[in-house]
Symmetry: C2
Subunit: 196 residues, 2 copies
């Protein structure tokens, strides 16, 4: 049997949850180009194939929508992470697996997001990759732009990244293959959801 | 057959939508105490009973979470409506019926929310009730507080409410019974969703 559904925001007189599904927040943190979005998409597809409703909350998409009013100051970046957490919390309360793919460099901000979700419903994944390998990948040319000084306070170049102390899962995308990281991620999340 | 699923935010290479469900934004606008939350809850329960995943985005809940950084200046109130719209859009893109219950007094802000959603996927409901009846109800004592000057810029007292010109549905909660308004709302939304 799976875990109990998380307590949501609906008043108790409501009918049983329409999705009949256990919501959870899966939070992928790591340097830019560490592989968060790749893993998030693979996880979402895998869950979808098993009829587990899941969605991806991606940094770029947030910036284009819910957080379009925010810049890149420390305060704005923290607010960006806060809103990602609130969005994920809301989605998880609706029974979805909300997969967040966000640099989210500071421990305290990730901790705040965790504390807004019922115990055991926040699954943090450290997407670990050396900054050297991230630089080699650099699919969006961000490291290059940061080196030229075009992006101030860029995590891994001019701003610190605080690695999780005890994440629920630690993948090393500069050591493992994408397939290996994906397999471990999928198995760990499905276990946490009570599906195996 | 129901309408086609709305185009979501997922890249096209993704698997078919996991919820196999047509998302939609149902936006209830009206004066404070006009009956928006009551109708939203009733609609959500009705859809849930028919296994149509739906959720309510409520003003109070937004203020406690996603919008906890906002005050009640005009700029902040507009930003509150904008974020409600973005949240609803995201949920609808995941296949849920996102029911927004929010005063949202200005036409331009509701129009902005509509324009962020695919054509035909935004269903606006004008929850019409005279300010006199709203004042009599006043379940949270807000009108009373506004009259005492404790709430500046309170819609219906010291701030204008711009009624929708051509809403998808117009209910009159000061004339109809709750049951009658609910019945019309449920039938109209189910028709828009393609369920009858």
């Amino acid at each position: 049997m799976g875990p109990k559904p998380m307590s949501g925001s609906s008043p108790p007189q409501h009918a049983p949850h329409p999705l009949k599904q256990t919501g959870m927040v899966v939070w992928l943190t790591g340097l830019p180009a560490s592989g968060k979005s790749t893993l998030a998409s693979a996880l979402r597809r895998n869950l979808a194939d098993a009829s587990i409703p899941a969605c991806v909350i991606d940094g770029d998409e947030l910036r284009a929508g819910l957080c379009s009013d925010l810049g890149f100051s420390e305060a704005d970046r923290r607010e960006n992470v806060r809103r990602a957490g609130e969005l994920a919390r809301f989605l998880a309360a609706q029974g979805l697996v909300a997969i967040v793919a966000l640099v989210s460099p500071y421990i305290r901000d990730r901790q705040s997001a965790r504390q807004r979700v019922p115990l055991g419903r926040f699954f943090q994944v450290y997407v670990d990759c050396s900054v050297e390998v991230c630089r080699q990948r650099d699919p969006k040319g961000l490291y290059e732009r940061a080196d030229r000084g075009e992006i101030p306070q860029f995590t891994g170049v001019s701003d610190p990244y605080e690695a999780p102390i005890a994440p629920e899962l630690h993948v090393q995308t500069d050591v493992e293959s994408v397939e290996a990281s994906t397999k471990r991620l999928v198995e760990a999340v499905r276990t946490a959801l009570g599906y195996r």
